[in-house]
C-alpha cells in the first residue's frame, strides 16, 4: 500500500512516468481486437432481446414445485406456440411464450399456478405487444442522439472540438464493447440494460472530462515554452491523474459488485442484476478508454496542428542542442529530461540544479 501511495507522489512529480501515449499502438491494437470480437459477436450471434423488445409474455414462478417439462406442456397447450422455460436462482421457474392477450395470460397464469402448486398471486407476469419495444428503443436512440449533440457542443465550448471528438471516440468504443459483451455471453437485453448503457455513457464521459481537465491545465501555456511537446504534457496529465482514476474506478466498482453479489446470490435474475452486470463491464472499459484511447486520440489530433508541430520541432532542436553541449563539456550524454510538474515548465527554475553542479565541478 505504501508503495502505491508514494507512487502517487512520484507520478505527480514525473519521477516515475509511464509512457502511456507513446505506446498507443499497443492500446489501439488491443482495442481493435476487442472491438472486432464485439462486432463479430453482434453480427454473428446477435443480441438476446428480452420480451420488452420483441413482444411476448413472461411468467416468473417463485418456489415452483413442478418440473420444466410439466410447465412446458401447460404453456404450449395453452398458447399453441413454442415457449422457453428456464430455471433461475432460488428455484424460480421462468416461462416465456409468444404474445398473449391479457385474458389469455391470466388463464395461463392460473393454470401454471395449479400445476406448480403455488398461489396465482405470487406469479409475476408481463405481457408486451410487439410494437412497444420498437417504440421505447426508438425513444432511447432519439434521446441518445440529442444528448450526444448537446455534449459535443458543451465539450467544444468548454475544451475544444478535438477533445469533444476524442471523448466521443472513447464513448462509442465503450458502448460497442459493452453491447458486444452482451452478444457474446448471450445475456438478455432488457430495458434495465438500456438504462445501464445510458449510465455507462455518463460515466465514460465523466471520467474522460476529469482526465481532459488535467490535460487542459497542463497544456494551457504550452506554446510559450520549448521543453515539452504536447504529447509529453498530455502523458504527464494521464500519469498525474492515474491514482485518481484507479481510486475512482475501485470506488465506482465496489457498489456495483455488491449488487452483483447480492443480486446473484439472493435474488436470481432481475432488474438489479442486469444493471449491475452492464455497469461493471462499462466502468472497467470506461476507465481503460479515458486513459488509453481518449487521450492518445486527442494527442494525435492535437500534435497534427501546425502550432504543435512547430513546438515539437523546437523541443527536439533544443534537446539535441543540450545534448551536444554536454558532450562538448565532457559530461556523459543525458537522455531527454524526465518530465516534471508545473514548476518544471518554468525554464528558469529548471536550470537551477545545473548551475549548482557546474560550480561544484569548478571547485573540485
Amino acid at each position: 500500500m505504501s508503495k502505491l501511495t508514494t507512487l502517487g507522489q512520484r507520478l505527480y512529480r514525473g519521477e516515475v512516468s509511464y509512457d502511456f501515449l507513446g505506446r498507443w499502438k499497443t492500446w489501439y491494437i488491443f482495442s481493435a481486437i476487442i472491438l472486432l470480437i464485439s462486432v463479430g459477436a453482434l453480427v454473428g450471434r446477435g443480441l438476446n432481446l428480452g420480451i420488452e423488445f420483441k413482444g411476448g409474455a413472461d411468467f416468473s414462478l417463485p418456489n415452483a414445485t413442478c418440473s420444466v417439462e410439466e410447465a412446458r406442456v401447460v404453456a404450449e397447450t395453452q398458447t399453441g406456440g413454442q415457449s422457453i422455460i428456464t430455471v433461475t436462482g432460488a428455484g424460480t421457474l421462468r416461462v416465456q411464450t409468444i404474445t398473449l392477450t391479457p385474458e389469455q395470460s391470466s388463464v395461463l397464469a392460473g393454470q401454471l399456478a395449479d400445476t406448480c402448486a403455488i398461489s396465482k398471486d405470487d406469479i409475476k407476469y408481463q405481457v408486451v405487444g410487439p410494437t412497444w419495444g420498437a417504440e421505447i428503443s426508438q425513444k432511447a436512440i432519439q434521446g441518445l442522439v440529442v444528448f450526444l449533440i448537446l455534449v459535443t457542443l458543451f465539450l467544444t465550448l468548454y475544451f475544444e472540438w478535438r477533445m469533444a471528438i476524442a471523448a466521443l471516440v472513447a464513448l462509442m468504443h465503450d458502448l460497442v464493447i459493452t453491447i458486444g459483451v452482451y452478444a457474446l455471453i448471450g445475456l438478455e437485453v432488457t430495458p434495465a440494460t438500456v438504462i445501464g448503457l445510458l449510465t455507462i455513457l455518463g460515466y465514460s464521459l465523466y471520467d474522460t472530462v476529469v482526465v481532459f481537465d488535467k490535460v487542459k491545465e497542463n497544456t494551457r501555456s504550452i506554446t510559450g515554452q520549448s521543453v515539452f511537446t504536447y504529447e509529453e504534457s498530455a502523458n504527464l496529465a494521464v500519469n498525474q491523474t492515474l491514482v485518481r482514476s484507479i481510486n475512482t474506478s475501485i470506488v465506482a466498482l465496489l457498489p456495483v459488485l455488491a449488487i452483483i453479489f447480492v443480486g446473484g446470490f439472493l435474488l436470481g435474475a432481475g432488474t438489479l442484476l442486469d444493471l449491475a452486470v452492464v455497469l461493471a463491464i462499462g466502468i472497467a472499459i470506461g476507465t481503460f478508454s479515458s486513459i488509453l484511447i481518449a487521450t492518445p486520440v486527442l494527442s494525435q489530433l492535437k500534435s497534427a496542428t501546425p502550432e504543435m508541430k512547430a513546438l515539437a520541432a523546437r523541443v527536439y532542436a533544443r534537446r539535441s542542442q543540450a545534448q551536444r553541449k554536454t558532450v562538448v563539456d565532457g559530461e556523459p550524454a543525458v537522455a531527454a529530461p524526465t518530465i516534471r510538474v508545473d514548476r518544471a515548465i518554468d525554464p528558469a527554475e529548471r536550470q537551477q540544479p545545473k548551475k549548482v553542479s557546474r560550480s561544484k565541478r569548478k571547485k573540485s
Partner: protein
C-alpha cells in the same frame, strides 16, 4: 491560479444544515405521510401501458384529448377505491403513452377497466329514478302502469330489473367504464350519483359535435354552453328535439320524457331538457352553471368528441413479495456498497477518508429527505431503476472527494501549506467537478425529457444525485476539510491524517511548510 478565495467553512456548513433540516421538516412534518412512495416494481401491483390511437384513421390526438382521456381513466381507476392508484402520461401527441399503475390488484380487472374506449353520446331520456335500488313493486312501477307499458322492444323486463337493482350511491358505478353501446338501451347514473336514468339508444355521437364553448350571455347571469354540430348531427338534433320537446317533463313519471342525456364513458354528465325544436345545428345548454361547471362541460363535449382507442401494449404484474425482496436486496446491496466504499476511503485517505465517509452519509440522508419531499409534492415514486441509480451514485459522489483530495496532495507537493492547499486545491477540483457533473446533469435532463417508462425514473434519480453531489462537495466536504486542515493535528502531519510523509513521498505537511525557508538556507550556505 488566482489567490485562493477566503473560505468561511462554518458559514457553509450552517447553510447546509439549514437545507437538510428544512427538507427534513418538510418531509417529516407531523400529520402527513413521510415515507417514500414505492414504485410498482417494489411494492407489487399491476402496471398497464396504453397507447392511445385515434379511431379515425390518421387523425392527430391533441393534448386536450389526451388530458381528457387521462381524466376519464383516473375516474375509472379511482372508482376501484385503491389508494395510490396512478394514471400518468408520457410523451405527447401521437407518440404519447398512458401509464396506469394500481398497487396490489389482480390484473384482469384493471386491463378490462382501462382498455375501453370512452364514448360520448347523446341519448333521449326514458325516465328518471331515485339513486338507490328500488324497493320491489313501488315507485317506478306504479306510474309506469298509467302510461303505455313497454313501447320499445329492448325495454325488456330484464333491463328494467337490472335498472332497478342499480345503486347510484356505489362509487364504482359512477366512476364510469361500464360498457356503453350506443345502439342499445342504457341504464345508468348521474355523475354525482343523485339520479338514475333509463336511456334510449343514442341519437347523436360525440363525433358529430364540432365545437363547444362556455359563454356568459349578455343578458344572462348564469353561464351557458354553446354547441355546434356537423350536418349529420344537426339533422339528428332537429329530429330528436322536435319529438322530445313535445313530451312531458321528466320526473313526472311520464315515459319517455323531454330531456336528453349527455353520456360520457357510460355516465350521465348532464341531462338538459329540450325547450323547443332546434333547427340549424346550433344549441345552447342552460342551467345554473357556474363558470367552472360550464367550462368543464364544454371541454367534455369538445374533446370527448373524438373517441380514442386504448391499446394495452405492456401489462406487468408484480407480486408484493417479489417487490419486497427486490427492495430488500437493493437496500442490502446499497448498504454493503456504501460500507465497502467507506472502508476503502478510510484505508487510503485516513482522516480525510472520515470526511469522505461523513459526506457520503450526509449525501445519503439528503437524498432520502429530498426524495420524500418530491414523493409528497409531485408524487415521485422510487423504482428499482432508481435504487440502482442511487447505488451507482455512491461511486460517482465519492469520486468528487477523490478528485479534491488528490488535488490537495498535489498542492502540498508543490510546497503549499495545508491550509492553502485545502483552498487552492478546491478551486482546481471545483472546476473539474462542475464540468464532469454538468455532463451527468445533461444526460439526466435529456433522458428525462425524451424517454418513457423506467428510464425516466432512473434519469430523475441521476439528476437528483448529481445535484446533491455538487451541494455536498461545495457545502460539506470542502468546508469540513478546510476546517480540519486548520487543526493542530493535521498541521503536524501525523500518519493518520492521510497526508503523512510516508504517503506523500517523503514530504510531510510540516516539511512542505518549512520547504521555503530550508531552500533559502541552502542557498545562503553555498
Amino acid at each position: 491560479m488566482a489567490t485562493p478565495a477566503k473560505t468561511r467553512p462554518i458559514r457553509l456548513l450552517a447553510l447546509l444544515a439549514v437545507i437538510v433540516v428544512g427538507f427534513s421538516v418538510w418531509a417529516f412534518f407531523p400529520g402527513t405521510s413521510s415515507s417514500i412512495r414505492l414504485g410498482l416494481d417494489l411494492q407489487g401491483g399491476t402496471q398497464v401501458i396504453l397507447l392511445p390511437k385515434a379511431v379515425t384513421e390518421g387523425a392527430e390526438i391533441t393534448e386536450e384529448q389526451l388530458a381528457q382521456t387521462v381524466e376519464i381513466l383516473r375516474a375509472r381507476v379511482n372508482g376501484l377505491g385503491v389508494a395510490e392508484a396512478e394514471v400518468t402520461t408520457q410523451g405527447s401527441g401521437n407518440d404519447a403513452a398512458i401509464v396506469v399503475s394500481v398497487p396490489g390488484l389482480n390484473q384482469d380487472r384493471i386491463v378490462e377497466l382501462v382498455q375501453q374506449t370512452a364514448m360520448l353520446d347523446f341519448r333521449p331520456v326514458w325516465n328518471i329514478y331515485g339513486p338507490t335500488p328500488a324497493p320491489p313493486a313501488v315507485g317506478a312501477a306504479t306510474p309506469a302502469a298509467s302510461v303505455p307499458p313497454v313501447q320499445a322492444a329492448e325495454n325488456t323486463p330484464e333491463f328494467q330489473a337490472d335498472l332497478a337493482a342499480l345503486d347510484c350511491t356505489d362509487p364504482t358505478i359512477t366512476a364510469g367504464g361500464t360498457p356503453n353501446d350506443p345502439v342499445k338501451w342504457l341504464g345508468t347514473c348521474e355523475q354525482s350519483g343523485a339520479t338514475k336514468y333509463s336511456l334510449q339508444p343514442a341519437f347523436i355521437n360525440g363525433i358529430n359535435v364540432t365545437d363547444a364553448t362556455a359563454q356568459l350571455p349578455q343578458s344572462g347571469v348564469t353561464w351557458v354552453v354553446s354547441l355546434e354540430f356537423d350536418g349529420e348531427g344537426a339533422a339528428a338534433l332537429a329530429r330528436a328535439s322536435t319529438e322530445l320537446s313535445a313530451l312531458p317533463e321528466c320526473g313526472s313519471g311520464a315515459e319517455p320524457c323531454n330531456a336528453f342525456a349527455i353520456v360520457l364513458d357510460g355516465v350521465v354528465v348532464s341531462a338538459p331538457r329540450f325547450n323547443e325544436p332546434i333547427i340549424g345545428g346550433q344549441a345552447q345548454i342552460e342551467g345554473n352553471f357556474t363558470a367552472q361547471e360550464a367550462r368543464d362541460l364544454a371541454s367534455i363535449l369538445k374533446f370527448g368528441a373524438l373517441p380514442i382507442t386504448l391499446d394495452p401494449v405492456d401489462v406487468t404484474t408484480i407480486s408484493p413479495t417479489v417487490g419486497r425482496d427486490q427492495l430488500q436486496a437493493g437496500l442490502i446491496a446499497g448498504g454493503i456498497g456504501l460500507l465497502l466504499v467507506m472502508a476503502y476511503l478510510l484505508f487510503y485517505y485516513r482522516l480525510l477518508g472520515v470526511v469522505a465517509g461523513l459526506s457520503l452519509v450526509v449525501a445519503g440522508g439528503l437524498l432520502y429527505v429530498v426524495f420524500a419531499v418530491f414523493s409528497k409534492t409531485i408524487g415521485l415514486t422510487l423504482t428499482l431503476a432508481g435504487v440502482a441509480g442511487a447505488i451507482v451514485a455512491i461511486g460517482i459522489t465519492a469520486d468528487s472527494f477523490i478528485v479534491y483530495f488528490e488535488r490537495i496532495r498535489d498542492e502540498i507537493r508543490d510546497g503549499k501549506s495545508l491550509r492553502q492547499a485545502c483552498d487552492s486545491g478546491w478551486i482546481r477540483a471545483r472546476r473539474t467537478l462542475l464540468a464532469a457533473d454538468f455532463v451527468s446533469m445533461l444526460a439526466a435532463i435529456v433522458l428525462y425529457l425524451l424517454s418513457v417508462g423506467n428510464v425516466r425514473g432512473f434519469a430523475f434519480v441521476l439528476g437528483l444525485t448529481t445535484l446533491i453531489d455538487v451541494i455536498i462537495a461545495f457545502w460539506f466536504t470542502h468546508p469540513l476539510t478546510a476546517l480540519i486542515g486548520r487543526s493542530k493535528f493535521m498541521q503536524k502531519g501525523s500518519r493518520w491524517t492521510g497526508l503523512d510523509p510516508d504517503r506523500m513521498g517523503g514530504i510531510s505537511v510540516a516539511d512542505a511548510l518549512a520547504g521555503q525557508s530550508r531552500r533559502k538556507r541552502k542557498e545562503a550556505t553555498t
